[in-house]
């Protein structure tokens, strides 16, 4: 989608990462996928594919775009990140460990009784989690409140909310969308992980949501549609989202992705919304992730 009529270029074109930065982010996305496989082996079940579609976004946000204070995950000036699709939290916990917010022991005790890391992120238990989730549809509304709070406190942080695409079916999302536009929350960015699948099948088969970009525009948002696995495009769009203070509306970034990206059979098999790879299959999946350049 080309927004600038003068240059015929996306507005984020000048925000592209360097080749070195791209390599680093690809490496971090790979790390997120591999750690997800390792952690789900502990739990014996999990949402691999929901992480895999979002791995580049997780990496771009946490390793490049967001203002993060490693020493203080509660720093009032930090950018916020809320997960609508809380079931993909397993892909965030390795990042939090790398940032020093949780210990390796805690990470390796994922889902064990008494461990703070469950299938869904809990803000009362896990440093770095800006809002608890698990029940689909809440996060954007909470993000509206946090963006309002930032404005009241005169803080210029950006609130990033990642939602699933099936999540668009929840009416609550659209209540939040109306509200954010009404209040001109330009500090609010909704990233829709448009991976095409939900629990019962493809989003198009369950309840179709297209044309999604037109819907968000009609609700008063700026919209960018990007390839969610193209680290350069995605990072540039997210950097621009944060840096461009000329914008007056909230921003929706529709990240076109593939559910299960990185492991070939998961990319086409919707049954993998929730699953478990036996160690032998996990080893093959690891090999494919190691070898592929996304």
């Amino acid at each position: 989608m080309l927004d600038n009529p003068k240059t015929n270029q996306a507005p984020w074109e000048s925000f592209r990462p360097t080749d070195d930065e791209i390599d680093h982010l690809r490496d971090r996305a790979k790390f997120i996928r591999l750690e997800t496989i390792r952690l789900i082996e502990i739990a014996k079940v999990g949402h691999y594919t929901s992480v895999f579609s979002a791995a580049e976004a997780f990496a771009a946000l946490h390793y490049d775009v967001m203002s993060i204070n490693k020493a203080d995950p509660k720093d009032p000036k930090r950018d916020r990140f809320l997960m609508g699709k809380g079931h993909a939290a397993v892909g965030l916990f390795p990042i939090y460990e790398e940032l020093g917010w949780i210990t390796k022991d805690v990470l390796d005790g994922y889902t064990r009784l008494g461990n703070p890391l469950g299938d869904h992120p809990d803000m009362r238990k896990v440093p770095g989690v800006d809002f608890s989730s698990g029940s689909i549809g809440h996060a954007l509304s909470a993000g509206v409140g946090m963006a309002m709070g930032g404005r009241l406190d005169d803080l210029d942080f950006t609130t990033f909310v990642m939602t699933g695409d099936g999540e668009m079916q929840e009416g609550q999302v659209w209540e939040a969308a109306l509200s954010a536009a009404h209040h001109r929350l330009r500090n609010l960015v909704c990233i829709v992980d448009r991976n095409g699948f939900q629990l019962d099948g493809s989003v198009d088969d369950v309840i179709g949501i297209e044309p999604l970009d037109e819907k968000w525009r009609a609700f008063g948002w700026d919209v960018q549609v990007v390839d969610g696995h193209n680290v350069s495009d995605l990072t540039a769009a997210l950097r621009w989202a944060k840096a461009d203070t000329e914008r007056t509306k909230p921003l929706c970034i529709i990240a076109r992705t593939l559910k299960g990206k990185g492991v070939s059979y998961m990319e086409t098999e919707p049954g993998w919304h929730l699953g478990y790879l036996t160690p032998a299959d996990a080893a093959r999946a690891v090999q494919e992730i190691e070898e592929r350049v996304i």
């Binding site: 739990a43 014996k44 079940v45 809380g86 889902t111 064990r112 009784l113 008494g114 469950g118 299938d119 869904h120 809990d122 608890s132 989730s133 698990g134 029940s135 689909i136 549809g137 099936g166 999540e167 079916q169 929840e170 009416g171 448009r194 095409g196 939900q198 629990l199 019962d200 493809s202 198009d204 088969d205 369950v206 309840i207 179709g208 297209e210 044309p211 970009d213 037109e214 549609v225 390839d227 696995h229 193209n230 076109r256 593939l258 070939s264 059979y265 998961m266 086409t268 098999e269 919707p270 049954g271 993998w272 929730l274 699953g275 478990y276 790879l277 036996t278 032998a280 299959d281 093959r284």
Partner: protein, 349 residues
């Protein structure tokens, strides 16, 4: 980028062609798994199977799901009656209001989701569109009480407390596969709105061995005993029956009164059994200690002037941990060893 595009010009992706996943890996969930049958035979998807039996005889029966057909066993119905199955997407308020609309048009809709989403998110819609209008919408909800290890977002520990307050609504908490099937038939025949707590997947057959037959609104004595009267509902009747066996070896004689219909409560039967003197009354439920079977029974006995020793086995008034289900049942006192331990302590006190 990908071979699948979702732009405005390709609204409908081609029907996906699933490639073969490795045979040994499971595309399933242990966290939303079947209840442990504890050595008993199981029946797969009893609700889905029973609903198909009902639908085969009745054209007015339709099924609705909110993107959870696989985990509510409604997929069985969807496969056999595709013309009468409506996929509503993840939109629970719509799910129940649309079910009300179907009922208004003379259909008998079975609307299914998880208990948390029905009781919390869609409450106002169930209250106003279904209960107040007294429409025959049949609600069946998986993951009642503590039947998933997914933590508070998926654990409906207070669904009975929420729904007991709704006038007109009949509430059923079946014990096992047999009762789930019988209740599905019975509720389809009942005229008003109903809420059934759903056990899904491979569900144990518990009551078949006792020649049990579900009757809407009736509590039934499954097993008699002189020292303790368990008053239990849902799968906790499986646990109280097992606890009764275990306690028997210690010379403690336990009766089990199964109360599948939470509302309207079979107060006459409960009061009559509780009035038999000398027995410790122990309610047992897969629900918060607040507002469920235990409190309903306690209040009923008080109203009737039945003064018995009364104790409750229920989930604590807390948001519960995530984890593996058997561990959590033990931690929160729903396991057989925890039940027997507490009953002995109460008798010794």
């Amino acid at each position: 980028m990908n071979d699948v595009s979702f732009g405005p010009n390709s609204r409908r992706v081609s029907k996906f062609q699933p490639r073969q996943a490795p045979a040994n890996s499971h595309a399933t969930s242990a966290m939303i798994a079947s209840l442990d049958a504890e050595g008993r035979e199981t029946i797969t998807a009893p609700f889905g199977e029973a609903l198909c039996e009902v639908a085969a005889k009745r054209d007015d029966v339709v099924g609705l799901s909110a993107d959870l057909s696989k985990y509510t066993d409604l997929h069985v119905f969807a496969e056999r009656f595709p013309d009468r199955f409506y996929q509503m997407g993840m939109a629970e308020q719509l799910l129940f209001s649309a079910a009300a609309g179907l009922a208004r048009e003379g259909f008998t809709p079975w609307a299914t989701t998880y208990a948390v989403f029905a009781s919390r998110r869609a409450y106002d819609f169930i209250c106003m569109a279904i209960a107040e209008e007294n429409l025959p919408v049949k609600i069946a909800c998986a993951l009642p009480g503590l039947t998933t290890g997914y933590g508070p977002s998926h654990q409906a520990t207070e669904d009975l407390a929420i729904f007991r307050g709704l006038p007109n609504l009949t509430i059923v908490d079946p014990c096992d596969a047999v009762e789930t099937m019988q209740a599905t038939h019975a509720l389809s025949e009942s005229p008003g709105p109903t809420y059934m707590r759903l056990l899904r997947g491979k569900v144990p057959d518990v009551l078949g061995a006792y020649g049990y037959k579900f009757e809407l609104g009736k509590a039934k004595l499954i097993h008699d005993g002189a020292d303790v009267l368990f008053v239990s509902s849902g799968f906790m009747t499986m646990r109280t029956l097992d606890a009764a066996k275990a306690l028997k070896t210690d010379g403690i004689d336990c009766a089990v009164l199964h109360v599948p219909t939470i509302k309207p409560l079979d107060e006459a039967k409960i009061q009559a059994e509780a009035a038999k003197t000398g027995r410790l009354i122990v309610t047992a439920e897969n629900h918060s200690i607040m507002g469920g079977l235990g409190e309903a029974v306690g209040a009923s006995l008080m109203r009737a002037g039945v003064a018995a020793r009364f104790r409750q086995i229920a989930l604590p008034d807390e948001f519960l941990d995530a984890g593996a289900l058997p561990t959590l049942h033990d931690q929160y006192g729903l396991s057989v060893p925890q039940i027997t331990k507490r009953v002995k302590a109460w008798l010794d006190a």
